[in-house]
């Protein structure tokens, strides 16, 4: 059975139909990419699935459970993680703390125990810090562990978001343009990182403009245009689809 199923999903902002009747499903353990020209509705689709927006109509199912209309924190409890196209890093915190926040749901969040500095809580927190440091190593940010987030370069922050998402120990992770704004060398590093994430067993859903990276990583690709599904299939299928070629060249048939 598919891990994530999307059926007839639509959202309207006033008169604008940002996503229209989109359906697809994603199998466990694959890398699934969503591509399309600017304004095709890719980020909106992410926002719908991760609960940031509520769909106007349609269904989303995770492991068979209907999840449309649930809030982002409820979806986080069900193992859904994401990163953002426009960085959403907590600049008021250190890098490692940003990663630790990712483990929020796995911790005892009791206010009174925290205020009293109970030893059990402290020990868990120390373990978590070690785990977060480990994750920063995994994404290649060893140099920044104790850095303040607002002192880090853009490329490092992109990867910090991935580390934070991984700290949730998610089943499925949505990466919204992880290579946007990066130089070619950094792009290759992120490409390798996404591969490593997928190899660790996490289902990856990717929005990305770098076609080399998309073709290199994806098991399946969904093409959106003007909020509608244009095509879906393997890299080769999508690349040879005449509608897709037309959309990307701007000549609408």
């Amino acid at each position: 059975m598919a891990l994530l199923e999307v059926k007839d999903l639509s959202i309207h902002f006033g008169g604008v139909k940002a996503v229209q009747n989109v359906s697809f499903s994603i199998d466990q353990g694959i890398v699934y990419s969503v591509i399309g020209p600017n304004g095709a509705g890719k980020t909106t689709l992410f926002n719908l699935i991760t609960g940031v927006y509520k769909p106007t109509t349609g269904e989303i199912r995770l492991d068979g459970e209907a999840i449309h209309g649930k809030s982002p924190d409820q979806l986080a409890e069900r193992g859904m993680a994401r990163t953002f196209q426009n960085l959403q890093i907590c600049m008021n915190m250190s890098a490692v703390e940003n990663v630790m926040v990712g483990a929020h749901l796995r911790l005892d969040r009791n206010l009174f125990k925290a205020a009293l500095r109970l030893p059990g809580l402290r020990r868990r927190d120390a373990e978590l810090r070690a785990e977060a440091t480990q994750l920063m190593h995994f994404v290649g940010l060893d140099a920044y562990v104790n850095e303040r987030a607002d002192a880090m370069p853009y490329g490092a922050l992109k990867r910090l978001e991935i580390a934070r998402a991984l700290a949730m120990k998610p089943r499925i992770i949505f990466l919204d343009e992880p290579a946007a704004g990066l130089n070619p060398r950094e792009t290759i590093e992120v490409d390798h990182l996404v591969r490593k994430v997928a190899d660790s067993g996490i289902t990856v859903v990717l929005v990305e403009h770098d076609m080399k990276m998309v073709m290199n990583l994806s098991d399946r690709i969904l093409v959106l245009d003007y909020g509608k599904k244009l095509a879906e299939g393997s890299g080769a299928e999508v690349r040879n689809n005449p509608d897709v070629i037309a959309a990307y060249l701007g000549a609408h048939a």
Binding site: Q88, H104, D108, R109, D125, R148
Partner: protein, 310 residues
């Protein structure tokens, strides 16, 4: 990290121990007590404003509820002062929790408006229910009694308040560096990012609002017993603003900034009495000056200057 000596807290303890021996007279001891009480209110408020990034322009209202609970419940109903104090906290907690859910769907200036309105409604109520509260003139508060003895001496009050302050500083530090505190700071940094990692944003805002309100209520009770008198000015709009100003002048999201802000702004009106008639003008000008030249607050500005965080 966890082995690091808590130097800040040790300095606070040292200063608190030294104060009674260096103050020249009871006037300054009284000032120190009021500084310490304000410092505790500001610590709570800073968790809300500085760390969680949510404004409240009505916190004096909660202070007023605590103060009046300690005045009204023992006077009219014969409650023990400690029980009345607890009663004030419960009333405040329930009220804050009830309004917090709808209020914290609001952002920015709308949130400022709602909290301001709440504070003013509380203030007007205290002013008008004269049969219970003494109206605009206020009412006397029976003395606090602990273990069968009534507390009058400033020295005793000082040690009580100083001990509470040490606990409050320690607990705030713990809270900030905990999963709860990280979630608070995260929702300040990026609300949507904290949501997608599982932080129930509204619940956290409500918790910290209720916590800081109850804390203000408790301090209101203590102030009432210490002074022996309450008036609606406790819950005044301007008092709310003073408290917020203490947070910002000392430094948002800074534990020691809260202490510095409270100490300075409690002392300021005393220092200004020599300006005879010009106090308001000078006070306003000083507020503006602080905000224009030290918008980040004293402690964070100094910390940045000397190249280390807290």
């Amino acid at each position: 990290m966890q082995k690091k000596l808590n130097i800040g807290l040790l300095i606070v303890i040292f200063i608190l121990l030294a104060v009674p021996f260096v103050v020249p007279n009871s006037f300054y001891l009284d000032l120190a007590i009021r500084m310490a009480i304000n410092a505790m209110i500001v610590l709570g408020l800073n968790l809300l404003i500085g760390f969680a990034g949510q404004i409240s322009l009505g916190h004096a209202g909660f202070l007023g509820i605590g103060a009046y609970a300690s005045a009204v419940l023992p006077t009219h109903f014969g409650w023990h002062p400690l029980l009345a104090m607890l009663g004030g906290c419960v009333i405040t907690g329930i009220l804050a929790a009830l309004v917090a859910r709808p209020i914290f769907k609001l952002k920015g200036h709308y949130l400022a408006m709602a909290t301001l309105g709440l504070g003013i409604i509380i203030n007007i109520t205290l002013r008008n229910e004269a049969q219970w509260t003494g109206g605009p003139d206020g009412m006397p508060v029976p003395p606090m009694s602990l273990f069968g003895t009534e507390i009058y001496s400033d020295k005793t009050w000082y040690w009580i308040v100083a001990a509470l302050l040490v606990i409050a500083v320690w607990a705030s530090q713990n809270l900030i560096d905990s999963p709860f505190g990280r979630a608070l700071r995260a929702l300040h940094g990026s609300e949507v990012a904290s949501q997608v990692v599982g932080v129930n944003v509204v619940r956290y805002k409500v918790s910290i609002f209720v916590l800081s309100a109850v804390f203000a209520s408790l301090m209101g009770s203590i102030t009432a017993h210490y002074i022996g008198f309450v008036s609606p000015n406790f819950a005044d709009f301007f008092h709310s603003i003073e408290l917020v100003t203490m947070v910002v002048v000392g430094g948002m999201a800074s534990v020691f900034g809260s202490l510095v802000g409270a100490v300075l702004l409690t002392a300021l009106p005393q220092a200004l009495t020599s300006f005879e008639g010009w106090e308001t003008v000078v006070f306003g000008a000083i507020l503006m000056g602080f905000m224009i030249f030290l918008p980040k607050g004293i402690v964070p500005t100094l910390a940045a200057k000397f190249g280390k965080g807290e």
